[in-house]
């Protein structure tokens, strides 16, 4: 236990993508770095272990992405999904820096591969990690260890002592024991609070009890809360988060990617009253999956049911749990615990409003409804060929946006507007500076990598001035 490294130059709180990028960069700048990861080694890496790609700007096809993704288009996409709730200066900074990420990542052991099946729409804009996020995390841990970064697992920073906006020491729980770690610089990269159920309840009320936490159970947000309680400026809204619709049978924590249900564009989604509530065919699924968590969260009991008939089989990714299958809509309603009459009525009205078109899942086709509210604007095909299948959906919270305010050097801002002399933040804990709402696939990893590297570099630079 006393073999713990004492008083490093740079203390990195967290053990995911942003933390490791920061640790590697700070170490390469010649500083002594200690990484405290709250999870045990087998579950290290926070939510990064569940990721699979990173969005980055690039001038053309580059062997990783299939075509150009200019910085301006990236910015337009971000502007659209956030509805303008972003910081243009920080966002453009991140987008500009994203250009050089893949080469840096490859130098540190990350490998890319062609886009995964079922995600071809992201092939132009995103780079896919060979083996997924855990492979990336493993590569970064190997790189960090080879550089001489000290890493301690099962070590959660639960509180910090600040003096006049300066970090002094961290209070750490390690295997049930409390320890204090002093360091000259703190890099806060410990993620959000999405696994902290009481905190979710504070923000969402009883509805939070029906949320499923897609990622790591270790993101308790204790460092975030400590920083906010000790005078750091907050950014973002505690109710804003990246949430997708997941299978209601998913485990409470850590179900990751396999719990998603991708068949929404090919069917209809109803709530507990067997009523539709949103356009299922608004856009390609990879562009819309991120809104369905919030849509379902807004429904009674935070539940939705997606219904398809026999036709879309093979058009969407296989699911980890089998659907409820029935020979008739009535039987399906009984199985789902819905009113059979109401569901039959909803399906009949939907089917009656479908206008014949040329069904094509590869394009925004012309199969749509008329005179239906809400409409289904693409891939609207009558649900009439048995057997019928249904999946019940729950909101699957992926990450939270409430965070600490930073400047473009990843330097933490205090509540009075001044910048901390020795605190930096990267990753989910500061994502709210740029993501006020909405989500772009692969953008969390962009933010983590960009600001992790900035934080590492700036931390080393700050040491010279301390």
């Amino acid at each position: 236990m006393d073999s713990w490294p004492h008083s490093p130059d740079v203390l990195v709180a967290g053990g995911g993508n942003a933390a490791l990028c920061a640790a590697i960069t700070a170490r390469q700048a010649g500083t002594r770095v200690l990484v405290l990861e709250s999870a045990p080694r087998v579950f290290r890496g926070g939510n990064s272990r569940h990721t699979r790609n990173l969005r980055y700007a690039h001038p053309g096809a580059d062997g990783i992405a299939t075509g150009p993704y200019p910085e301006d288009e990236f910015w337009d996409d971000l502007w659209r999904v956030t509805g303008g709730r972003t910081s243009e200066a920080l966002a453009r900074h991140a987008i500009h820096d994203s250009v050089e990420l893949p080469s840096w990542m490859v130098r540190h052991g990350v490998r890319f591969q062609p886009p995964l099946s079922g995600t071809l729409h992201l092939g132009r804009t995103n780079g896919f990690f060979l083996g997924g996020g855990k492979a990336l995390v493993n590569a970064y841990y190997r790189a960090a260890e080879a550089l001489g970064v000290e890493i301690v697992y099962d070590a959660e920073v639960q509180d910090v002592d600040l003096e006049g906006g300066r970090f002094v020491r961290a209070r750490v729980r390690h295997h049930g024991q409390e320890r204090q770690v002093e360091a000259r610089v703190l890099i806060a990269a410990a993620g959000g609070f999405e696994a902290n159920l009481p905190w979710l309840r504070e923000s969402w009320g009883a509805a939070a009890d029906n949320f499923i936490v897609r990622g790591t159970p270790y993101n308790q947000g204790r460092l975030l809360r400590a920083l906010l309680d000790r005078g750091v400026m907050s950014v973002g809204d505690a109710r804003q988060c990246h949430a997708v619709a997941v299978d209601g049978r998913a485990p409470k924590f850590d179900g990751g990617i396999v719990t998603r249900v991708d068949c929404v564009p090919f069917g209809i989604v109803v709530n507990q009253q067997a009523q539709r509530f949103y356009d299922e065919g608004e856009d390609f699924w990879p562009k819309r999956y991120a809104i369905w968590g919030r849509l379902v969260a807004a429904q009674p009991d935070q539940i939705g049911h997606v219904l398809i008939d026999a036709k879309p089989r093979g058009l969407f990714m296989p699911t980890v749990f089998p659907p409820l299958v029935a020979g008739s809509i009535r039987e399906l309603a009984v199985g789902l615990g819905l009113s059979p009459e109401a569901l039959e009525d909803t399906v009949q009205r939907f089917n009656a409003s479908v206008r014949a078109g040329r069904f094509d899942p590869a394009v925004l086709d012309d199969c749509h409804t008329e005179g239906l509210d809400p409409p289904k604007t693409h891939w609207a095909v009558a649900i009439d060929r048995p057997p019928f299948s249904a999946y019940s959906l729950r909101p699957g919270i992926t990450f939270t946006y409430l965070g600490v305010a930073v400047d473009e050097h990843a330097r933490v801002r205090m509540a009075d507007g001044t910048l901390s002399a020795n605190m930096f933040a990267a990753g989910e804990i500061m994502a709210g500076n740029i993501l006020g709402q909405g989500y772009l696939a692969g953008f969390g990893m962009t933010l983590g990598t960009v600001f992790g590297r900035i934080a590492g570099k700036e931390a080393a630079r700050a040491l010279h001035g301390l």
């Binding site: 569940h50 083996g131 997924g132 492979a135 990617i257 998603r260 089989r313 093979g314 058009l315």
Partner: protein
């Protein structure tokens, strides 16, 4: 001892593949996951095919967000290793000899020991004065040519038949309901996969996560040494037999084709198995089935012993000790041959068959959804 609970294994493999098929993060590592992604449901034949497509490289385990102690408990290399062991027993011919797989280390040791004793006794009986020297370095002075050819020809024929029956039955079963025709192009493609060990490359060119979670080429290299060593030794023996037919009598000089090939092959068969055995010692116990180590080790030790005794015969071929050493060497080789259909060697054939099928599936147009 490998599990032989077929139904339980198939069920577990189906459970794991259903999770993997909803994830697919490992698609870039090897052939298993693209082959999996062509399917929504998995028959027992599908699963045995996927299991034999798996090279046990470990990448999918070390990169799996659902690996134990996660509640989903996804361990593809382990369940597929078990299913491969089941496959080998299921298709072994004749069926009663499938039990040789179950205590494979013991079985290989007994068969080899009996072979050695038999060869030594045979040599003592037939060699006559050559036993005490005076053979002039000629192996055929110790054991007559017709005896050697007759013995190894008969054993070779039996081995070929036993292996062929197993692999044909495997091919039929995994293709039941979804046959793939064998074409020159698919055989060429699969051969390329084998000769380069493409799927021990990890998909990113860094190698597989064996023996630890850091990618490495070391296993691929030792396997290459073993595989090409084996082929070179076979080539040396075959060329020597042809020489004999052409009237060029042994012993052949050090710089003759059979001896040079034999030496090169022998070096591969000594260094390759040693390397693989050392790696195995250091391998991560989670994804790699230690219960099947006996089968792996038996085969590696036999290859090593065959090469080692071969070298001893070569070095001492002009001394009186050669006769007994030759008998021991031929005894080891006979044991190796007899156990080929009932040991680790069969992995090469089932793997190749699976790769031929994979090449065939890849060249088909994708199935129409709906």
């Amino acid at each position: 001892m490998p599990s032989t609970d077929s139904d339980g294994l198939i069920k577990e493999a189906e459970r794991v593949m259903t999770i993997c098929n909803a994830c697919r993060y490992c698609e870039g590592h090897c052939a298993v996951f693209p082959a999996m992604a062509l399917r929504i449901h998995f028959t027992a034949g599908n699963l045995r095919y996927l299991a034999n497509l798996c090279h046990n490289c470990g990448s999918c385990f070390h990169h799996c967000q659902y690996a134990p102690p996660h509640a989903f408990d996804v361990n593809v290399p382990r369940v597929f290793a078990d299913l491969r062991a089941e496959t080998y027993q299921r298709y072994a011919w004749p069926a009663p000899l499938a039990r040789l797989f179950r205590r494979n280390g013991l079985a290989a040791a007994i068969i080899t020991a009996v072979s050695m004793v038999a060869l030594v006794v045979l040599t003592v009986v037939v060699a006559g004065p050559a036993l005490r020297g005076g053979h002039g370095g000629s192996f055929y002075a110790v054991l007559p040519h017709h005896l050697m050819v007759g013995l190894f020809g008969a054993v070779g024929l039996y081995v070929a038949v036993a292996l062929a029956i197993g692999v044909i039955r495997f091919w039929r079963d995994v293709g039941a309901g979804d046959p793939v025709s064998i074409r020159l192009s698919t055989v060429v493609r699969a051969s390329g996969d084998v000769l380069r060990l493409r799927y021990l490359g990890g998909g990113g060119g860094d190698g597989c996560t064996y023996p630890t979670e850091a990618p490495s080429q070391v296993r691929r290299r030792f396997h290459h040494l073993t595989f090409y060593g084996f082929l070179l030794c076979l080539a040396a023996t075959t060329i020597a037999a042809i020489y004999h037919q052409l009237g060029r009598m042994a012993p052949y000089p050090l710089w003759s084709v059979p001896v040079v090939l034999g030496i090169l092959g022998g070096v591969g068969l000594v260094t390759g198995p040693i390397g693989l055995l050392l790696l195995k010692q250091r391998s991560d116990p989670e994804p790699y089935r230690r219960s099947q180590f006996a089968m792996d080790i038996a085969f590696l030790v036999l290859l090593f012993a065959a090469a080692g005794t071969g070298f001893a015969v070569l070095c001492l071929r002009d001394t009186a000790a050669m006769a007994i050493l030759l008998a021991v060497h031929l005894g080891v080789v006979l044991g190796l041959f007899l156990t080929l259909p009932y040991g680790k060697f069969v992995h090469a054939l089932y793997r190749f068959a699976a790769l031929v099928r994979y090449a065939g599936e890849r060249s088909r147009p994708p199935p129409r959804p709906g």
